[in-house]
Symmetry: none
Subunit: 135 residues, 4 copies
């Protein structure tokens, strides 16, 4: 699994890192129960600070996607609980994306198609291409 940080992006590094790990977990490039790179190791590999990686891991941990094991470091969680809170957040994000789509005259069917494509894409292990995503 390759993690790429875009230092030019407006999005904070720890956020990008969180997203990359999330995409990695979803696409099963990192299996459930498997260990993520250690904080120091990843920081060194990416050429960023230890604390930045730490923060990304802490957020993922808080969200339930990973667990910090005292002995083995950071592990991908076997199961992710707390579905209700998540669904609220998910619905909010999607509603916003949908609102933009509506404003741009994207039909319900096309929106649905894009969503399904993204879902399958997130599941598969295809690499992420260049995205013009400032934020």
């Amino acid at each position: 699994m390759i993690i790429e940080i875009e230092t030019l992006s407006k999005a904070p590094i720890y956020e990008q890192l969180r997203e990359q790990v999330l995409l990695g977990i979803a696409s099963k490039k990192i299996a459930r129960g498997e260990a993520l790179p250690s904080v120091r190791r990843l920081a060194a590999d990416l050429g960023i600070n230890l604390h930045t990686v730490n923060k990304a891991y802490a957020i993922l941990c808080e969200e339930g996607y990973i667990v910090m094991d005292r002995r083995k470091g950071a592990l991908v969680a076997q199961t992710v609980g707390g579905g209700e809170e998540f669904k609220g957040k998910l619905a909010y994000q999607l509603r916003l994306s949908a609102a933009e789509a509506v404003c741009r005259n994207i039909s319900e069917n096309e929106f649905k198609r894009i969503c399904v494509d993204c879902y399958r894409n997130a599941q598969s292990e295809s690499e992420i291409g260049e995205m013009s995503c400032q934020k």
Copy 2:
């Protein structure tokens, strides 16, 4: 149309403002060509800084959702161009949402259902309920 700002939210106020306007446009609570409240007026009504409203309008303008008319103030754009750049951003957002859904074991069908629900919800004029959306 009622705009609510949550100063406790992690999301910056100008971002919340942008989102609220976007939801308003999508749900046709503000019609195409219609004028948004003036910067001063909205700032006063919401009890926020004038520059904050300005920033939100500037972003919406830059994204093409509204146009700034020197005489009439901010108007909802009749048509929104620049579809390609937008689709890239949309796909990125959706892929991330989808990745989270995959991690949480939400099936493709359920994800699709939620997406469609959100699309219809964004189109309709129903108010947005309480969403636990820190970010």
Copy 3:
């Protein structure tokens, strides 16, 4: 309200800080809705690092005791939700304290008396005396 940090203590500074704020809120030395000192201000006053104060505030925020307002800084929360999770943690702490009391032959009545004393003490505004608390 006076906050004292014991740099000799084994307990981390951010933990001590969290406790002091908690005691201040309980004893109403800081009222609900009132603002706490800014991160920088408190760090300067206590002669500790900004990030340390930040962490203490972040934990209190996460626990629901305070809220971070984008404009007014850190405020004491009006209401603290999430009772169930808290009660589990509280019961665990108390069970441990009780176990130690049992081992030391402290009777149920004496334990109850101590607990009630502590409750009233936490409510009142009396200052905390010197406690031989390494951990």
Copy 4:
């Protein structure tokens, strides 16, 4: 008596171990004068490091709950002295728990009830249920 170690917990293993033993002594699952498992044995059973068990035993010994006998290993102490120092620590812990309870609007009576419940629970031999105790 069954000891369970949670390597995912934020609490260090030696601390968890100390707590489990304490709960075992209080509930009389281990009688006064009885021998605890040997350091090597317990370390092997729990799959943890020998030094970790050693540290837990050393702390319990220092606190007076157990005594180390060169021949018989670790024995539960017949009597536990040093009450005053302990009471200071106990009062500090309880005051903190009480402060949290006050902040959460738990009444004195309810707090008292919980304390008594915990005391009796610590005395009885009932197993500890699942506690969401990160700290």
